[in-house]
């Protein structure tokens, strides 16, 4: 296959780049999605139980959100590196764990807001109808907190997708690796295409999560609509 003219000219905008290096691009996008999914999954696994443990304790909330706030302030590059002694300096775990730590803070805050906003009379009605603690939690409180949680998940997903690129600094950056390669080879189409791919990925996941909210909370669609 002949090299496209825009690649030979090293143009910024060059759709031919995608077909030229498609294997490389697909692999980078896949690794980007995997890193993001692991980070978000890990964050959910930590944030949901943590929210349930601290929700009724003022001190618990202060400690959890305080520690989270400190971690959240540490720049990603530094946090990736500081986790190196624990997980290895060339492993992907520092990237996943660090991004998950940021996400826990966002998710925890949103979950607490969501749980706090469950109306007291709804809880009373459920208890009065004979709901046990577990049923109350899983069938009333968590579903009602779901919109707040998903709003947090959208925010976390978008910023995580953008931040994964920084992982390229320690060799696990998904599409970030293409950015660096494009930089060292002065390959402009690779740089611009990579940037656009990251933004598109973030927007796609954001849309998907909005859609998930609509599907998962059918009762909200009826609100505000004339009968």
């Amino acid at each position: 296959m002949a090299t496209a003219a825009c690649i030979r000219a090293n143009d910024w905008f060059c759709p031919a780049y995608l077909t030229q290096d498609s294997d490389q691009v697909v692999a980078a996008v896949r690794s980007h999605v995997e890193l993001t999914a692991y980070a978000l999954g890990l964050a959910l696994l930590v944030a949901v139980p943590l929210a349930l443990v601290v929700r009724r304790s003022r001190t618990g909330r202060l400690i959890a959100l305080g520690i989270g706030g400190i971690v959240y302030t540490i720049p990603s590059l530094a946090l990736f590196v500081l986790l190196g002694p624990v997980f290895g300096f060339t492993s992907s775990l520092p990237v996943i764990v660090a991004l998950a730590a940021y996400d826990v803070q966002v998710l925890l805050r949103q979950l607490l807001v969501g749980l706090d906003e469950v109306p007291a009379d709804v809880v009373e009605a459920a208890v009065g109808t004979g709901y046990g603690r577990l049923a109350l939690l899983t069938r009333v409180e968590l579903p009602l907190a779901l919109p707040a949680l998903l709003a947090g998940l959208r925010l976390a997903a978008v910023s995580t997708i953008a931040l994964v690129t920084v992982g390229a600094v320690i060799g696990h950056g998904g599409i970030g690796a293409l950015l660096f390669a494009g930089f060292s080879n002065d390959y402009k189409a690779q740089q611009l295409t990579s940037l656009v791919l990251v933004v598109l990925l973030a927007l796609a996941v954001d849309l998907l999560l909005q859609l998930a909210l609509r599907v998962l909370t059918p009762w909200r669609r009826a609100v505000g609509r004339p009968a």
Partner: protein, 228 residues
């Protein structure tokens, strides 16, 4: 071999605190990058936010712009700016990218602060014969001060974080220790640099959170304001 011990030794070694490659010089570069970027971003974000907030217009655009900016990878913009021939690699490309990412938090917080001032208060000021400029500067701005500072605080902490990447496009700052250390597999230097970066970000956050509390009118203090 203990990495933590090696890092402590690296941090305590005075040889790492002298010259162009020393911590003080890299720290000064980092602060200069941050100061210039946030300064320029404030020159753009503050007046625009004040004006739009006063007119209570453009809120949707301001919010959409801020949300969209979150999806853009800072590293990508930094690299692309360095590859634009007229900018070139180094601190200049970094400053351009940093300014771009510092504007949204300043703009959105200023806008929300001003536009969120109680309408009745603004009407009362107008009723007393205050001109529009006086309403903005003597009534709305003092009431919105806390949020304006919150925007600057978010911008500073975010720019300190992003400035660590300047080292990867031929610039300076504290990121150079991480970059150089990785290149030589000198993990004590990598960790030493990371400790300084984290310390700087935390110090800035604490100082600016204090400042925010100080300038927020007592009646409007409702605990920590959620970061934008």
């Amino acid at each position: 071999m203990s990495l933590v011990g090696d890092t402590a030794v690296w941090l305590g070694d005075l040889a790492h605190y002298r010259g162009v490659d020393g911590v003080p010089h890299r720290l000064a570069e980092h602060l200069a990058l941050t100061g210039i970027a946030v300064g320029v971003a404030a020159l753009v974000g503050l007046p625009v936010g004040l004006l739009l907030g006063h007119l209570r217009r453009g809120g949707t655009v301001v919010t959409a712009l801020t949300n969209a900016s979150r999806a853009v990878p800072t590293l990508g913009v930094l690299i692309i700016f360095s590859s634009i021939a007229s900018i070139g690699i180094g601190n200049r490309a970094a400053v351009y990218a940093l300014v771009l990412f510092a504007i949204p938090p300043i703009l959105v917080n200023t806008y929300v602060g001003i536009a969120g001032v109680d309408r009745e208060v603004v009407e009362a000021a107008r009723g007393m014969g205050m001109g529009e400029a006086a309403v903005l500067l003597q009534v709305e701005l003092p009431l919105a001060r806390g949020l304006v500072v919150a925007g600057l605080r978010t911008a500073v902490v975010q720019v300190i974080a992003t400035a660590t990447l300047a080292a990867y496009v031929g610039g300076g700052g504290l990121g150079t220790f991480v970059n150089n250390g990785y290149g030589r597999q000198d993990y004590a230097q990598v960790l030493g640099g990371a400790v300084w970066i984290a310390g700087l970000a935390l110090a800035a956050e604490i100082v600016l959170a204090g400042l925010q509390r100080l300038v927020t009118p007592a009646a409007l203090r409702t605990g920590p304001v959620g970061a934008a």
